[in-house]
Amino acid sequence: MDQFKLGLGLFIFLAIPPVATFMESVMVIHMHMQMPMLIIAGLLIAPFFQQRFPRFFEKWNQNGLPGILLFIIIIGYWMLPRTMDEALTLQSVEIFKFISLPFLAGVPLRDSWKKLTDFQKNSVITFFTIAFLGMGALYTLAPDQLCNNYLIIEQLTLGWAFLLTAVGMIVYLLYVAFVDPSQYE
């Protein structure tokens, strides 16, 4: 249960008001650091739920697809500029962020990932690569402020971060397409 404690600790750390406020004060840290860290907290907590409710996961997430679908929906929701804005202005949405990202995205991701085939895994990554390219284009090309809470310069920075992340994912996809690790290890 060490992972569980680590995950819970990370979750509590991220929820401490000064930490949350600081991370949300910079757009790119909000989206590319706080949100992924919440998901990571969920990933670490996941084994706790998997052991507690094995039947539940077996019944509802037998082949991993429902879980990964839920993950995609939650992440898709949090990629909308409006939701990020609302997380800052409405406390209920902020609370939803802290619950949905670890428990509705992180936990199902951990449970689903092992059940997916390689093709399905790479499809998920391809989907997010395309989505990130789209988001990158949106944030770098939009002439207006998309979030009331962040300046255009921050929006641009986030856009570039999306584009670079997508580039990194493309490199990864090319790597798995052309390199066979079993030849080396």
Partner: protein
Amino acid sequence: MSAQTLKDKTNEVLGVNLEDAKLTKSYLLVAFIALLLGGLFGLLQGINRAGLIELPTWLNYYQVLTAHGLLLIVVFSGFFMIGYFYSGLSHTLGGLLPKVRKLGWIGYGLSMFGTVLVVIMVLMNEASVLFTFYPPMKANPIFYFGLVFVVLGIWACCFGAFIQVANWRKENKGQHLPILSFFATGAFILLLACTLFVAVEVLFLILPWSLGWVDTINVMLARTLFWAFGHTAVNIWYMTAVSAWYVIVPRVIGGTLWNDTLTRVVVVALVIMNITGGFHHQIVDPGISDTIKYMHVFMSLAIGFPSLMTAYALFVVMERTGRRKGGKGVFGWLKKLPWGDVRFLAPFIAMLAFAPAGAGGIAQTTFQLNSVVHNTMWVVGHFHLTLGMSVAMTFFGISYWLIPYLSGRVLTPAINKLGVIQTIIWSGAMILMAFAMHTAGLFGSPRRTSYTTYGDHAAALGWDPYMMLIGIGAVLLLIGVLIQFYVVINLMFFAPKGQTEFPIAPKEPGDVTGYWTERWGVWVVLMIIVVAMAYVVPIVDMIVNAPPGSPPFRTW
């Protein structure tokens, strides 16, 4: 018998692969010719700073400074590093593949061509830009084209090394990469990653501007890209030296590698955390926000951790070896170390020098201390301690066994003695010089300026005694350079024939290494993430909120 073991056996019997030896010897020869020329320019510079000579109009101080820096920082260190690691790859991975050797030669050709272009431009006084192609100072475009070729040459060598390592891992599944090749892999990954930054700077910013296609350049952005490379380059040479401290020195003193996993963790840590340290060179630059400068303190100091681990590990190795040989008491083991062996003495003094050098570096990391010493002689002193002493002396120490190993000759007692004398001269001169430079820097003497008394200002006249010490140091160092060059030529062409060992320390019995250290894919991804976290925010800010841009300046 498999092809691999056959190759190993042949290697064992025949010694070094002659074709690989030729490649490495060519690199080392260029490195030491650069040392000789760079040392000569250093002498001119030193005695000019001491106020002893006035340089002729056709050879001005800034030209000499640029040549000194380029020849020693880029050519000497770069060529030595590539030659040394290629010989390490060849020795530990059973000989270079033919295509890797070819890439090594292509890299050699491209780098040489580039270096010649650069040197011609410097000698023609067309590129006295103080060796850091640092806008808004603008050199002749051919200077920058020369640098492009140097970078292309480096890339050829990087890819060669990666192909060699990948091939070995394919043939030796599940095995750990031999430790020296592990160091080489890390160093070449860093070299490739950091030169990408400078390639972007030169291709997209500097070349169009120096050719006159665009009127202005984003100075802030260019400098940031430059330092992502420049800082890492310094650490690559340091890593090269460290590889010898970990792998070679224990063998020379008759000991073992202390902890294989720790050694590999140091390499991995240096790879992941290195590039982002570049910001600390721009502490006093305007246009970088306080938050980023605050972040850089952590990023720069992070590199201190692997260094501290190194210091600990190396002294453990030396103490254990000394005690095994019968050293008693708290410091008795020190007496058992082979002080008369230049292969140990030179790298040992290099390690000692790294203690004050590292401490000075930490002082420069913080804003307040940096404000005092920035752009003063202090920084020059720091650099002579780190590169001039820690790195160069380790390289010298390596040359005493690597060159005879490559040329099928032996290190004679006479040359060893000469090496010890060289080491003493070099250490004394560097200590003198570094002390004088650090002190003069604290008193405000600027760096990168020709000798001047600023109209006989009292403060400037107060620097004069230190400048004289620098001049004396420069003369002694040139003597050191001449001895070293003689030794290298002797070991390469004239020393008696014989067998020399490539000294690689064995692991301690029972020392098991985790296989996770071999996951280079993960380390590279982590490096990219760390680099992205450090650079995306400030670089977007520098591009979007760019200043008006600067036209080219020619200050000489």
